[in-house]
Amino acid sequence: MLTGALIAGVIFGLYFTLVGLGLNLVFGVMRIVNLAHGDVLMLGGIAAWALFSAFGLHPVVTAFLVLAVFLLAGLPVYYAVVPRLLRSRDAEMLSLILFFGISQMIEAVTTIAIGATERSLPPRLMGVGPIILLGTRLPKAWFYSAAVSAVAVLAVYFYLYRTRLGTLTRAVMVSRDEALATGIDVNLVSAIAFGISLALAGIAGVFAPFIMGSITPNMGVALNITAFAVIVVGTLGNPVGTILGGIIYGVSVMLMQTYLSSWANLLPNLLLIAVLLVRPEGILGRKTRRA
């Protein structure tokens, strides 16, 4: 059972890397906490359900559409909300309140639009039956989701370290003021990072029905807590640390389900408290915090 829990935890955790990745990117670049991140993820799931129900669109195709649409949608949302927020005296704290409000709005509007009940996609779309890894039976969808997550992590890494825009983004991550002083269009760089963050959340949402069984308009808040735990464990502001955070979260969940199942929902909060008390800078620490 221990081996099974560890293997399942790593694969499961890779998906949660994707869940936390965008949130960490936004924090790294803008030093704000997007508490509507989980709701954006939910919208990705709703998009997958709606496009499949209406046009029979496969979720992988939807993932590409979501990538484009959410990325573009992030730009106006950024300009409407974030620069004003960053001019305030305590942007980090105010961002919590503002994005919590946005989160509630998204949940309410979605509930009005489609109702509050569970929505899902047929399991056959990702292939029915398990993949057996070292004797552990895991759904095929987990491997596809983990693969998408790995591709997303590599793409973010490539963007940050192999493109000019990525270099500028890292400059903003190190110091927004200095980047501004050197003539970087800080708002454009941040807006693109914000769009990428929404796109990553949206893609994670497309695969959510296969990982979480179904999607509901109210799932955002719980996902925010999980995503927050993942990035705090991995190191806030360090997108690469999210991989570690995701895997630690996944393995911990599976171990809890195996040995102490009744308490499994306490896990994100326990991880948050433990890391903040023992190593507040996150497991990867300060040296790697700023790109």
């Binding site: 509050a116 569970e118 399991p123 398990p130 039976r137 990982i211 195996t258």
Partner: protein, 415 residues
């Protein structure tokens, strides 16, 4: 002397007449909570929508004819609030309905979790609580006369056909071990404990896995693998709608197979589960057979077919809330409320209590026979055990398979 007596009588008549007229209220205020969002929305909204359907039906006739007011028809005013599946919000709103809105009758939200906070509040304020489907055993005690369970049997009784079947027909077919996986809340926790007790008492089928998981659990893959490692013959998964969706999907994805698998909502909210997990993941799953799939002869209110037609007229398919057991529970609660109002001596809460308990064993609705234990627990509407059996391509029927006197077919156990 005669004229004095006549004058006295006339005086008494004049004094009583206005008092009687004042006693008849212009409306009956019924307070109810519902959850339009959150994890319990899928069991709450059908109850609420069905109850509203009953209110509209009654008000279209001018209201409820109350014997207490000389048979006068009095319209219903429904005061309802959205607790958003939050017990904290529900507690505040139960209080508000009692102390601010001064409702005459109080109807709980659906399910044990959102009812649990209403029970002590209603008791404290001596307000009778129409508990729609909060089946947690802890809600009912003989020192609390202010509660009665409308639909669904109390959790300690409800699952006994499962253990009876496994100990009887299952045992004959070689079922020896069972795994019980439940969500840790009043509803499923009590059922799980009751089942464990039944198996331990009967000493035939052995419980080899007994684990609780948080109600928020949305992934069961590792839990299913852990259960499979114990190699049980039967698996009983007791959860809410979201739990059952995740469990059934993960079970199919894992490729693990058990001879007998039970899930509460595969049958009780069949439409909702089918749309999320698909027919193939539900095939041969055992479940309760609710009144939405089993026709009881209704002597009061609409029959199941009439109610379904009325439901589909008011809430056409695709409008958001699926027809299922919870819709029946909401309407059935309306029927009990109606009979209570018709027969109560007054709107005093103990008179309401007496009227509700006066219906026990006599009221037959589309949900079966309404029968209460002394403490208010429902003991009459015990649902048969059913199985989702193939009925053509991509179609399943929920067939009652146990007990034999209620069965419509034979159970198919896995190899």
């Amino acid at each position: 002397m005669k004229s004095k007596l006549l004058a006295l009588l006339m005086l008494a008549a004049v004094a009583i007449a206005p008092a009687r007229a004042q006693q008849a209220p212009s409306e009956i205020r019924i307070g109810q909570l519902y959850a339009s969002s959150g994890p319990y929305a899928s069991i709450s909204m059908p109850v609420y929508d069905a109850f509203k359907l009953w209110v509209d039906e009654v008000n279209a006739k001018g209201g409820v004819a109350m014997q207490a007011f000389g048979g006068k028809r009095i319209p219903i005013k429904l005061i309802s609030y959205d607790d958003q599946s939050s017990t904290a919000t529900a507690a505040t709103l139960y209080n508000q309905l009692i102390t601010q809105d001064h409702v005459d009758l109080l109807v709980a939200d659906s399910g044990s979790v959102l009812t649990s906070v209403g029970v002590p509040i209603a008791k404290e304020h001596k307000q009778f609580l129409f508990d729609v489907s909060g089946t947690g055993a802890a809600f009912f005690s003989e020192d609390n006369p202010y509660i009665a369970l409308m639909a669904d049997p109390v959790s300690t009784i409800w699952p006994h056909y499962i253990s009876d079947f496994l100990n009887d027909e299952g045992y004959k077919e070689g079922i020896r071990t069972v795994a019980i996986l439940y969500s840790t809340n009043d509803f499923t926790g009590t059922q799980a404990a009751a089942l464990k007790g039944f198996f331990e008492r009967d000493k035939k089928v052995k419980v080899i896995y007994y684990q609780g998981v948080p109600t928020s659990t949305s992934n069961y893959t590792v839990l299913i693998n852990n259960i499979a490692a114990q190699n049980p013959d039967a698996v009983l998964e007791l959860g809410y709608v979201g739990n059952d969706i995740a469990f059934l999907r993960n079970l199919q994805d894992s490729g693990n197979q058990f001879r007998f698998v039970f899930s509460i909502y595969a049958g009780t909210e069949m439409e909702e589960i089918e749309k999320n997990v698909g027919v193939s993941a539900m095939k041969n799953i055992f479940s309760y057979v609710p009144a939405s799939n089993y026709e009881y002869k209704a002597e009061e209110g609409m029959s199941q077919k009439e109610f379904k037609a009325a439901w589909e007229k008011k809430y056409p398919p695709g409008s958001g809330v699926a027809f299922g057991a919870n819709a029946i529970y909401g309407y059935m609660t309306g029927v009990v409320v109606q009979k209570t109002l018709e027969t109560t001596r007054s709107l005093r809460q103990m008179d309401i209590h007496d009227a509700v308990f006066g219906l026990s064993g006599k009221l037959k609705t589309l949900d079966g026979t309404f029968e209460l234990r002394k403490d208010g627990a429902q003991i009459g509407e015990v649902t048969p055990l059913g199985q989702l059996q193939e009925a053509g391509k991509d179609k399943l029927d929920l067939i009652a398979v146990y007990p034999p006197d209620l069965a419509h077919g034979k159970a198919i156990l896995g190899k």
